[in-house]
């Protein structure tokens, strides 16, 4: 892997983390002293993706604007890595008229036709639409692909099975990416999944499956690259599982009292680790790191500023956009 790519992966991970930290800050800012989920600049459930940057960065590095991506309830890292406009995405999360969905959708419902990005709050149900996008691409003779992200909890939903079988059967250019962060809210993987490796489930559909351990962005990049290349070449779907990390709570406000792995969590943060690695390999310098962080911070704060300055939707238009 060339240094440019590695630096780019790092840059993307930092951008995502910077973004999530900013949302974290603004989400909680005005929910004090007592946490009130519906209050503040950013109300509602908030599922942040800190710790899972390697998945989004490593996979989406292979994607083009015309490729499609569907993400689950925890979508920001994927959206950012896919290139969704940060300002309009942030405005959406802030419920503003200039948001991707004019404030109608919110953080779990980001739709960006420009980058073919979408997400859904119903576990697993983002998979079938990705099949349809892949179907449309294939039929148009394009070499675009679709990537569907889902948590390891989602891999036990019926729709996972149906989607993999249909994708395999119709040889669709789609890549399934399972983000195994060990938890589905409070339910640990061992209490939800009968086997240790979801990639093994590829066998049930006659497609390749691969698991990447250790939240390793370069391994994700390499593995995803093969899967994307297969799909582009018309060779059909692949199932990937990445062992990643939920650095924070399931959603903001999650007390995480159930969580028995909390002690080791900070030590597993993929960003300092990769940073150290790239420093050691002289891909990065202290200076370039500082610059990456500053640029990330500037972009993120600009997006947040854009959101905050954007108009709030007009209540009298609340019942619009039901039908085209």
């Amino acid at each position: 892997m060339d240094d440019k790519t590695r630096a780019e992966l790092y840059r993307m991970m930092v951008l995502i983390r910077t973004y999530e930290e900013a949302i974290l800050r603004d989400y909680h800012a005005d929910k004090k002293p007592a946490f009130d989920i519906g209050a503040g600049l950013v109300p509602g459930e908030m599922h942040l993706s800190a710790g899972q940057e390697p998945v989004a960065a490593g996979v989406c590095a292979h994607l083009r604007q015309h490729d499609a991506v569907t993400a689950p309830h925890r979508p920001h890292h994927v959206a950012i890595a896919k290139g969704v406009d940060l300002e309009r995405m942030t405005a959406e999360i802030f419920g503003r008229e200039s948001g991707l969905g004019r404030g109608r959708g919110g953080h779990m419902h980001l739709f960006d036709p420009a980058t073919h990005f979408s997400c859904s709050g119903i576990v697993g149900e983002g998979l079938p639409p990705a099949l349809g996008q892949a179907f449309a691409f294939k039929r148009a003779g394009a070499d675009a692909v679709a990537v569907a992200f889902a948590g390891e909890g989602a891999a036990n939903a019926g729709v996972f099975h149906e989607s993999l079988n249909l994708a395999a059967l119709w040889n669709l250019p789609v890549i399934f990416v399972v983000e195994d962060n060990d938890w589905a809210i409070s339910v640990p993987r061992r209490a939800s999944t009968a086997i240790g490796n979801n990639a093994d489930r590829a066998f049930a559909y006659g497609i390749p499956g691969a698991r990447v351990e250790d939240n390793d962005v370069e391994a994700v990049y390499t593995t995803a690259g093969e899967a994307v290349a297969r799909a582009r070449a018309g060779e059909g779907p692949t199932l990937l599982e990445i062992h990643t990390l939920r650095l924070w709570g399931h959603f903001e406000g999650d007390p995480q009292a159930y969580r028995d792995d909390l002690d080791e969590v900070p030590g597993r943060d993929p960003i300092p680790r990769y940073e150290q690695h790239l420093l050691a390999e002289q891909v990065l310098t202290e200076d370039s790191i500082r610059q990456v962080r500053q640029e990330a911070s500037a972009r993120v704060e600009k997006a947040i500023e854009f959101a905050k300055q954007s108009p709030i939707p007009a209540p009298e238009r609340a019942a619009e956009y039901v039908f085209a």
Binding site: A68, T70, G99, L100, G101, R102, G103, R104, G105, G106, H109, F111, P113, H116, S118, S120, I122, E125, L127, P128, P129, A130, L131, G132, Q133, A134, F135, A136, F137, R139, A146, G158, V159, E162, S163, N165, L166, L169, E320, Y321, V322, F323, A324
Partner: protein, 346 residues
């Protein structure tokens, strides 16, 4: 978006069954628009269990008419994704009764994406499905359930009662930029292997035309009592209306044709004229279509009603298998007739 704005009066003498009219509508749109594909269980070689896709595979080939595994969530969601990318899929859910295995894709995705995207994404898709009982198919294969679909926002719901509307509504549904749930009644398809009302065969213009979604039809004008109904029950209501002439009762029959959007005006105009309302619905009675129709009158002006509203619907019981039991709960001619008599003799 539309090609023919006004539906031509069906002056044609050519008569088709509802099933053939649907197929003709689909085929004409497939000719016109390569983005129209047909996806579902047994839509290919079988031609649809209720003949809604008969002959399309031969004509358009397996790339445009695709049989699926029994994976309704996957293939309906596939339709949604393809529609988002600009295709116009027609996806068949074999029986409306099966909505429970795939409703999330239907009501939380297909129906909501346009709204959640603030209007930036459109989902021009048709979800076609078979509804209704009357042939002893039991509690899991005889339901209408249109009230369930119509209650949930973001999808149009159409319910044709005759061949001409069936074709026109199919063409309108395909051309509509919104998801349209197209619910045909098995008993109104004119199938050779099921008892049928002669009204399931009728004149159908040959050219492509649209029947506007959201406009009810006054299927029969009358002065004394209004029957508001839909789908197969329109045929029963028309039969009863003809019978009642002998009893000196002049029945108006309103065929809703579309539940979403609902044509309130036509209902209210009719009730304002007759002062008497019977709602006939083959769906479950409570919390559904019959309640909604009564409610729009009660919230417009209860004084329009010279007598209490009558509802003839399935009395909140699963559809029984045995013929006599099923017949007892369906809104058949006898029950409709009795309601008309109750209302006009009271």
């Amino acid at each position: 978006m539309s090609v023919t704005q006004t539906p031509p009066a069906p002056t044609t003498s050519r008569r088709l069954t509802t099933a053939k009219a649907i197929v003709e509508g689909i085929a004409q749109e497939m000719e016109r628009d390569p983005g129209v594909v047909v996806i579902g269980e047994d839509v290919g070689a079988y031609g649809g269990i209720f003949s809604s896709t008969a002959g399309l595979l031969d004509r358009f080939g397996p790339d445009r008419v695709m049989d699926t595994p029994i994976s309704e969530s996957a293939f309906i969601g596939l339709g949604t994704g393809a529609a988002v990318e600009g295709m116009r899929p027609i996806v068949e859910l074999m029986f409306a009764d099966f909505f429970g295995v795939c409703m999330d894709q239907i009501y939380n995705h297909m129906a909501k994406i346009h709204f959640e995207s603030g209007g930036h994404v459109t989902v021009p898709m048709v979800l076609m499905t078979a509804a209704g009982g009357g042939y002893s198919d039991g509690a899991q294969h005889s339901q209408c359930l249109w009230g369930t679909f119509a209650h949930l926002p973001g999808m149009k719901v159409v319910v044709p009662s005759n061949p001409a509307d069936a074709k026109g509504l199919m063409i309108s549904a395909i051309r509509d930029d919104n998801p349209v749930v197209y619910m045909f009644h098995k008993g109104a398809m004119g199938l050779p292997w099921m008892a049928k009302n002669p009204r399931s065969v009728g004149p159908v213009p040959e050219e492509a035309y649209e029947t506007p979604i959201g406009r009810a039809a006054v299927a029969r004008e009358g002065a004394d009592v209004t029957i508001v109904t839909l789908s197969l029950s329109v045929q029963h209501a028309l039969d009863v209306a003809e019978d009642m002439i002998g009893e000196g009762v002049d029945v108006e029959v309103v065929d809703l044709r579309s539940l979403v959007p609902l044509d309130r005006e036509t209902v209210l105009t009719s009730v304002a004229k007759t002062g008497r309302l019977i709602v006939v619905d083959e769906d479950y009675r409570s919390y559904g279509v019959s309640g909604e129709i009564a409610a729009i009158v009660a919230e417009q002006d209860p004084a329009l009603l010279r007598a209490p509203v009558q509802r003839v619907a399935v009395p909140d019981v699963p559809l029984p298998y045995a013929r006599v039991l099923e017949d007892a709960v369906l809104p058949n001619r006898e029950r409709i007739r009795a309601a008309v008599r109750r209302l006009t003799q009271a």
